[in-house]
């Protein structure tokens, strides 16, 4: 047991599962890197170096560099999964889903249903998402709400290293297709205690990041960390904030969210996904539908504005929901 970052936790999960099960392989753009060049192989290990050294350990059959060809990457992974392999495909940024949604949307997600329960498609798509690193409009989006709305897909968005490792191992062992989203601003934040061994965290179980009694904040990914900072501050002025991190949006732990709101009577959803038809609205609707009687104040949602993600640091900082937005929302709900 040691303190690990999300970057380390994800690399460790991949290594452990590849060692455990020979059917597991990784594929994607530059997962090793260096093919066809004049330099060395394993030159990259993924754009962030997470898959570095796996080539040496598992060989080129199981650490598969591909052309920049996202439709073929995902489609090939889906075909491999439904024929008995357990691929972990890397889609460098979730924004690239624009060119390759079909293998997930129309193939992997629907096989089991369309084929009358006979197909198994044990596929994991790892992909980076999220704003905050000045990557501009085509490399900063948060699209988990899109994957969540597709029946047949599971959708995982860990916010810390312990969860990242346990959920990724679960994703690899899971027999359904899973989209595993990694927030790019969280890879190297201070780590948490994470066992060296393999372990799993079941999907559909929220993490209570913080227990509180006055108000429930539902948040995922980067937003969890912003909410934690705000909750810490507000505790000093006597506001007891409970933070629920669903960890997986599909399946969703509706029970824990409802249980928390029934206790606190107040809800703010802080979400990076979308200003319209996003994850925040899904949670708000859930609570309005099933826990209206517990509410002491209207539900508040905090999302980015309905615009693309801007590049300039000044603009991106204004775009991304931050602590001030949350404090304002909590204050409004508490004073209602």
């Amino acid at each position: 047991m040691a303190i690990k970052t999300i970057r380390q936790a994800i690399g460790e999960a991949l290594r452990l599962e590849m060692a455990r099960d020979e059917h597991v392989f990784i594929m994607g753009e530059d997962v090793a890197g260096g093919r066809g060049g004049t330099g060395v192989l394993d030159a990259a290990g993924g754009v962030l170096g997470i898959t570095k050294d796996l080539l040496e350990e598992f060989g080129e059959d199981r650490v598969i560099d591909t052309p920049i060809s996202e439709t073929a990457i995902l489609g090939c992974a889906v075909g491999a999964a439904v024929s008995g392999s357990r691929p972990v495909a890397e889609l460098m940024f979730n924004d690239f889903m624009g060119v390759c949604f079909d293998p997930l949307l129309n193939q992997a997600a629907k096989f089991r249903y369309m084929f009358g329960g006979k197909a198994e498609t044990p596929l994991v798509v790892r992909t980076m998402y999220g704003a905050g690193i000045r990557a501009a409009a085509q490399h900063s989006q948060t699209l988990y709400h899109m994957f969540t709305s597709v029946p047949g897909l599971k959708c995982v968005c860990p916010s810390n290293a312990y969860d990242a490792k346990g959920l990724l191992i679960q994703a690899i062992r899971d027999n359904d297709p899973v989209v595993f989203l990694e927030h790019k601003a969280l890879y190297d934040i201070p780590g948490v205690e994470t066992p060296d061994e393999a372990y799993t965290i079941p999907f559909g179980e929220a993490n209570f990041v913080r227990d509180g009694t006055d108000i429930t904040i539902v948040a995922m990914g980067l937003m969890v960390h912003i909410a934690s900072g705000v909750a810490e501050e507000l505790a000093k002025s006597g506001v007891s904030v409970e933070i629920v991190d669903p960890r997986t949006t599909s399946p969703l732990d509706t029970d824990s969210i409802l249980e928390s709101v029934e206790k606190t009577g107040r809800l703010v959803v802080m979400d990076e996904s979308a200003a319209r038809c996003g994850f925040a609205h899904d949670i708000a609707a859930l609570v309005a539908d099933r826990a209206f009687g517990s509410l002491k104040a209207p539900i508040k949602t905090i999302t980015p504005p309905h615009t693309p993600v801007p590049f300039s640091p000044a603009l991106e900082d204004a775009w991304l929901p931050g602590p001030e937005d949350l404090v304002k929302a909590i204050t409004a709900v508490m004073e209602y």
């Binding site: 059959d61 199981r62 052309p67 489609g75 075909g79 439904v82 008995g84 691929p87």
Partner: protein
């Protein structure tokens, strides 16, 4: 590959396969007029020899990815005809429990990765099945069926390129029936040369008559053998004609009446097959007639059983979305 000495049993099998597809499709064409079949139907009448010829070289360990015009591929790959008919009628005992229908008939036990409602989607899927075969270090192959329409899809280009880059055991079979939906391939395939385009990706691809079982089986056999030997992706562009429209109900205004009538006379793979085997005295015509009779009974039974079968119970709506959730 020389098929002139094909054993009699295999010749009879090939004929039975083609005839079964023909009767299956023709009967659906008729049954559909009763209004008892829901949804879209894309029939492969006229293209039977391609399915039979390619599949005569495959085992159940080999995978195929099919198209929206997939009934023939499934039958040739060994799927149960009666279960297929039930599926098309949307019945509980259907091959996919009535959840897929004509456009999504799949039979993974037979290595059939599914008909596909998305034109060209089979390309990337097939190279995935080929990747599994490669990782298993088996000599299994994946065969990808694509139409002339799919040959223009970006995903197919990507699949072809990646199959060469990764050295995957896959065969691309382009069934060029001259039309993508209601538009001629002469217009939509810019180079008018699908095989040449595949070759440009580094995939040796031959052009053959897809209405003659012997020529398509010969070409497919050679391609599949080369893949099994580890020589990398191969291709076949097989020319054939669809006897019906893009979908059942298509008035085919884009085709001349002459064309529609002539293809039935000049390009019928069953007629061609009978002529070939009679010429060399390789089969008795009576043996083929006997198969015709057996197939007619099979299809009669399939339709009767499909009509008599129950629809799925409404609670099936919620089943089999996930394995666990």
């Amino acid at each position: 590959m020389n098929l002139s000495n094909l054993p009699k049993e295999r010749l009879l099998d090939a004929y039975r396969t083609m005839k079964t597809i023909r009767e299956f499709e023709e009967r659906i064409h008729t049954e559909n007029t009763t209004g008892d079949i829901a949804g879209f139907l894309h029939l492969s009448v006229g293209q039977e020899a391609i399915a039979a010829g390619v599949m005569s070289h495959l085992t159940t360990q080999d995978y195929i990815a099919s198209t929206h015009r997939g009934h023939g591929h499934a039958i040739a790959k060994g799927s149960d005809v009666k279960a297929m008919m039930k599926e098309i009628f949307g019945k509980a005992g259907g091959l996919c429990g009535g959840k897929g229908g004509s456009m999504h008939i799949a039979d993974l036990e037979q290595g059939m990765l599914g008909a596909n409602g998305i034109v060209g989607a089979g390309g990337p899927l097939a190279i995935g099945a080929a990747l599994t075969a490669k990782l298993k270090k088996s000599d299994d192959v994946a065969v990808c069926f694509l139409g002339d329409g799919a040959s223009n899809q970006g995903g197919v280009f990507e699949a072809m390129n990646m199959s060469v880059a990764l050295g995957l055991p896959v065969v691309f079979i382009f069934e060029n029936n001259g039309y993508g939906e209601f538009t001629g391939a002469d217009f939509s395939v810019g180079s008018k040369d699908i095989a040449g385009r595949a070759a440009g990706f580094g995939i040796p691809t031959v052009k053959v008559d897809g209405t003659n079982f012997f020529t398509i089986a010969d070409a497919a056999g050679t391609a599949i053998d080369r893949v099994r030997q580890g020589l990398g992706p191969q291709g076949v562009e097989a020319f054939a004609f669809r006897f019906y429209g893009h979908f059942e109900g298509d008035p085919q205004a884009y085709r001349s009446k002459d064309e529609i009538e002539n293809v039935r006379v000049d390009s019928d793979c069953l007629i061609n097959f009978r002529a070939s085997v009679a010429e060399g005295n390789r089969l008795e015509i009576g043996e083929l007639d006997a198969i015709d009779a057996e197939v007619a009974i099979l299809i009669d039974e399939a339709v009767a059983e499909a009509r008599a079968a129950d629809f799925p119970s409404p609670d099936a709506v919620l089943k089999d979305v996930y394995i666990s959730y």
